[in-house]
Symmetry: C2
Subunit: 215 residues, 2 copies
């Protein structure tokens, strides 16, 4: 289990949305300057060699900002580059297997898309560090995503979950405040930063929205 981490503004770095390897590095750097508190690499269209090369390049940038860097799904890529952890979905390696492979200090997150999955996650107490709840809304970003749970769904999962909870799925600058009313521990964004004309400003604006919603 990770000693400390902050889910407030969680960037899912999709290098295809960013515009490729080099663009993704630039987005990661700018987003971290703007206030992102955690970075996950997710590149479902990419071969693993490209994941590895990008992860290796992003890790030191995240380290400079003292922000955890985790890999979606691919435990082997995380092990290969020495990333801080892995985020697994319901169809990836089981969370307990992931923990065994990564060891006790890794940061491990699990996706849950409804109350049943949130309740099922209880068996991973001591195994996972947080849950990613969503998608809040339908999103073209993730073709194989589960049915949207809405803001009420996030609130229900948050009320039920034994784990810190980050909301994900369709969250943009103009609806982030609405999502924060469900009291998640943070919000995860993909296109809101990866496709932003100025990722640093986009991250800073989202960070301000999150801070405001907590005041």
């Amino acid at each position: 289990m990770r000693a400390s981490f902050d889910l407030s503004l969680y960037l899912v770095l999709d290098p295809v949305q960013c515009g490729g390897h080099d663009a993704a590095i630039a987005v990661a750097r700018a987003a971290l300057e703007g206030g992102v508190t955690l970075v996950q690499l997710r590149a479902p269209e990419w071969h693993k060699r490209a994941w590895f090369e990008l992860a290796r390049d992003v890790l030191p940038i995240a380290r400079t900002h003292r922000v955890p860097f985790v890999i979606n799904d691919h435990v082997d890529v995380a092990l290969a580059v020495g990333a801080d952890g892995v985020h697994v979905g319901q169809r990836d390696l089981p969370a307990d297997v992931t923990r065994k492979l990564l060891g006790p200090d890794a940061l491990i997150g699990l996706s849950v898309s409804n109350l049943a999955e949130a309740e099922d996650a209880d068996r991973f107490a001591g195994v996972i560090d947080y849950v990613g709840a969503g998608p809040v809304w339908a999103t073209p970003t993730k073709a194989d995503a589960s049915a949207p749970c809405g803001i009420d769904g996030i609130a229900a999962i948050r009320a039920r979950a034994r784990f810190p909870t980050v909301a994900i799925g369709g969250i943009q600058a103009d609806n982030a405040a609405d999502v924060m009313r469900a009291k998640p521990d943070g919000i995860a964004v993909v296109s809101a930063i990866c496709r932003a004309s100025n990722p640093r400003d986009a991250a800073a604006a989202l960070a301000a929205t999150i801070a405001q919603s907590r005041s």
Copy 2:
């Protein structure tokens, strides 16, 4: 490096071609009875949870037959189930990284599709155990395969390679003898066994062809 292994009749087990999880187990068992000398799991359409569950079920069957069982691409799945090794392509994790993750005793293969890649593989002396050369012919099995190298290409790679070489790509019962004239250390098949009406007989017939070509 693996102490000993036999590339003669190398089954690439594609569970989608077999007809699903249970059918793939039946094919693996029958093919091993028929004389397969190595089994690789490859399920590019599947999520990793399904790979994990099938790998966990196939491993003990391969062990019963004292045949190595390797995983295509996913080092994490291999580590999770304790498989004998991994086969990596040019766009998967680099071979040296794969070796570090799997340790000194694992069986590691690398795909090469032309003479340049076969020459490049020389830098992995002491890292990889064998090369998979191909595709010999174009095959609908692998949508993202490299250009076919033909039987002459296999012969050229075989003459050049410092590693045991298994030919792959479009090999069927009716052309296996032709491929063996290029003197590979073995042939790898997918649909020739996975789609066979009787996988045991298909494997036995291929094993007989290979034995005959060496006599």
